[in-house]
């Protein structure tokens, strides 16, 4: 082979390899930069304006000064509680339905489930959240108002239901994958011992698929936690701790979405909002940690 040609071939090889590596490095860099920015901007509340961590996550007095001087109160417990209650409500509503549907798709009617139900569920995972929010606002909110005879239909309940419908496809398809990956042998063993289908599902299939199902639930929870606009449309946006599921309140995301545009750059309000964004980031990291934990459990169980 021609020496020159060989050389150019290697040069090309190195060139492309470095380009691909650059792509990988870019992803790492981007993540680090995002994290760094959030830490940098989010820590100003504590370093520049001198608030304590406890004041931020443990108290409910939210009255930041929209100025460089600061001196207001940045207690964001309301938003944290708002996020937690809406998301937990969504999980409570969505999980049983999702599990039921996942089992229906895998063990009760696998043919129909695979060919038809599953694609439909997957498509619904892609429906934009503003559409969910808009339907929640125009259909669900008036419905809650009339059914429960409230003054306003905006409520934690409305947000919980909208989120539940939003995360239903996520939990369903991840759980269905987990349930499907339980070996057929296990089911046969259960039937061979005289189990009914429900006994096989309840005592063998679900326990075996548990780590995967939990991952699905966490993924759903993560999606619910990060959702901003759909929740903002139906939760009523009042700065008060919720007292019942009919209360109006705010969540971390809705407050950021609502206030960020008005707040002054470098002011206390904006810093506090950045701290809330940082909190969201940390929570999503925590969810990733949980999912890793469950998938490790699964690997462990498979190897054992």
């Amino acid at each position: 082979m021609n020496k020159n040609k060989e050389k150019s071939m290697f040069a090309k090889e190195y060139f492309w390899r470095s380009l691909m590596t650059a792509g990988g490095l870019f992803v790492i860099l981007l993540t680090i930069v995002i994290g760094a920015f959030l830490v940098y901007k989010g820590s100003a509340t504590f370093t520049v304006f001198g608030h304590s961590l406890w004041e931020f996550i443990g108290t409910a007095e939210w009255a930041p000064e929209d100025s460089m001087a600061g001196g207001g109160a940045v207690g964001s417990l309301i938003f944290l509680v708002g996020s937690l209650t809406t998301c937990l409500l969504a999980l409570i509503i969505a999980t049983p339905f999702s599990l039921g549907t996942a089992i229906f798709m895998t063990d009760i009617s696998p043919k129909f489930g695979e060919r038809f139900y599953r694609p439909v569920v997957e498509i619904f995972a892609g429906i934009p959240s503003v559409v969910y929010g808009w339907v929640g606002l125009t259909v669900l909110v008036p419905a809650i108002k009339t059914v429960f005879d409230r003054q306003v239909g905006h409520s934690v309940l409305a947000a919980g239901i909208v989120l539940a419908v939003m995360i239903f496809p996520t939990i369903t398809s991840v759980s269905a994958d987990a349930i499907r990956s339980v070996p057929q042998d296990c089911r046969m063993a259960a039937y061979g011992l005289g189990s009914t289908r429900w006994q096989a599902i309840y005592r063998v299939v679900i326990p075996a698929a548990k780590p995967g199902i939990l991952s699905g639930v966490i993924l759903g929870l993560a999606r619910a936690f990060g959702e901003a606009l759909a929740v903002a449309m139906v939760i009523g946006q009042t700065t008060a701790l919720p007292t019942s599921i009919f209360s109006t309140t705010k969540t971390l995301t809705t407050e950021i979405a609502a206030q960020m545009g008005n707040a002054m750059e470098g002011g206390e309000t904006k810093s506090a909002l950045w701290s809330m964004a940082l909190l969201l980031f940390l929570i999503s990291l925590f969810f990733i940690f949980l999912i890793h934990h469950f998938s490790k459990q699964r690997e462990y169980a498979a190897k054992q």
Binding site: V27, I108, G126
Partner: protein
């Protein structure tokens, strides 16, 4: 003994009924939801709403949505695909690679509002871009980047190992193997990922709230790319369909228009996800066909 059997069979039948009921309920709910949004939205629409007016129509917003997604794919596809190739072909097992995977996961689970804030901070505050399509497109590409990376990586890793070995065996270099053998073989799957990413981009709102602004004043036929009314100027503020819905609900006006925007958005997303689904089905059918 017999009684026990009878009882567990009754429970079994009961639970079977419950499963059918749950599945049917959600199926009906999803169906009702889709038809309410699409039919309800189209039913309340007037012909002007489909126009390209400054106010009260969705034409410009639809254009902005598509243009924004197109711009975002210009960034996320090359970077995502190369990162995916890196992961599948070049990365060595080790801490750095594990960290990269963790980064991808972190990116994919970032709340979109947080990405929006980051975009706002970097593109607007640091680079002084001003609210623009470009800033929005860049933010959306951060959101879709992990999806494209992951699909590319999986697509390459799932190819039969024989492909790569055969190519290396005839004396091709690694890059030649990747470019001429592996990449063409997984183009359909990568396309599926890109379509899904586009679908996600169409519906994105929270990440655009503080990055694209709300311009809808386009002058069609204005080809001066630097003019703020030129449709193709990527540095102008632009209102997408999802932001339009958000703005309409905050201002509380023109329900029909928001209904129509939802319907169009929904159709757009449905078309894209059905296309992605059909594509991936065809791929899996083709693959299983090859095997048997």
């Amino acid at each position: 003994m017999k009684q026990k059997v009878r009882r567990s069979q009754r429970v079994d039948r009961g639970m079977t009924f419950v499963f059918y009921a749950v599945a049917f309920f959600f199926f009906a709910l999803l169906f009702a939801f889709a038809s309410k949004v699409i039919l309800g939205g189209l039913a309340g629409a007037t012909p002007e709403m489909f126009g390209f007016l400054r106010k009260g129509s969705i034409g410009n917003q639809l254009f902005n949505t598509v243009y924004l997604v197109f711009l975002s794919l210009l960034f996320s596809v090359p970077i995502g695909v190369s990162a995916g190739i890196y992961l599948a072909m070049y990365a060595k097992q080790g801490k750095a690679t594990r960290f990269l995977c963790l980064c991808i996961e972190t990116l994919s689970s970032l709340p979109s509002i947080v990405v929006g804030l980051f975009g706002y901070l970097v593109f607007l505050v640091f680079f002084g871009m001003g609210k623009s399509l470009m800033a929005g497109a860049l933010s959306v590409s951060i959101l879709t980047l992990p999806l494209i990376t992951k699909t590319t990586e999986d697509a390459i890793k799932d190819l039969p190992p024989g492909y790569f070995q055969a190519s290396m065996g005839v004396g091709a270099t690694k890059w030649q193997s990747v470019f001429h053998v592996l990449l063409p073989a997984c183009v359909p799957r990568i396309m599926t990922g890109v379509i899904l990413a586009a679908g996600r981009g169409f519906g994105e709102a929270a990440a655009l709230l503080y990055t694209t602004g709300s311009g809808s004043d386009l002058r069609w036929g204005n080809w001066d790319i630097t003019s703020p009314t030129c449709p193709f100027n990527p540095f102008r503020p632009a209102e997408t369909l999802s932001i339009q819905i958000w703005n309409l609900q905050t201002n509380g006006q023109d329900r029909d228009l928001a209904n129509l925007a939802s319907a169009v958005l929904m159709i757009l997303v449905l078309v894209f996800s059905i296309a992605a689904n059909a594509l991936s089905r065809r791929i899996s059918r083709k693959n299983s066909g090859e095997k048997s």
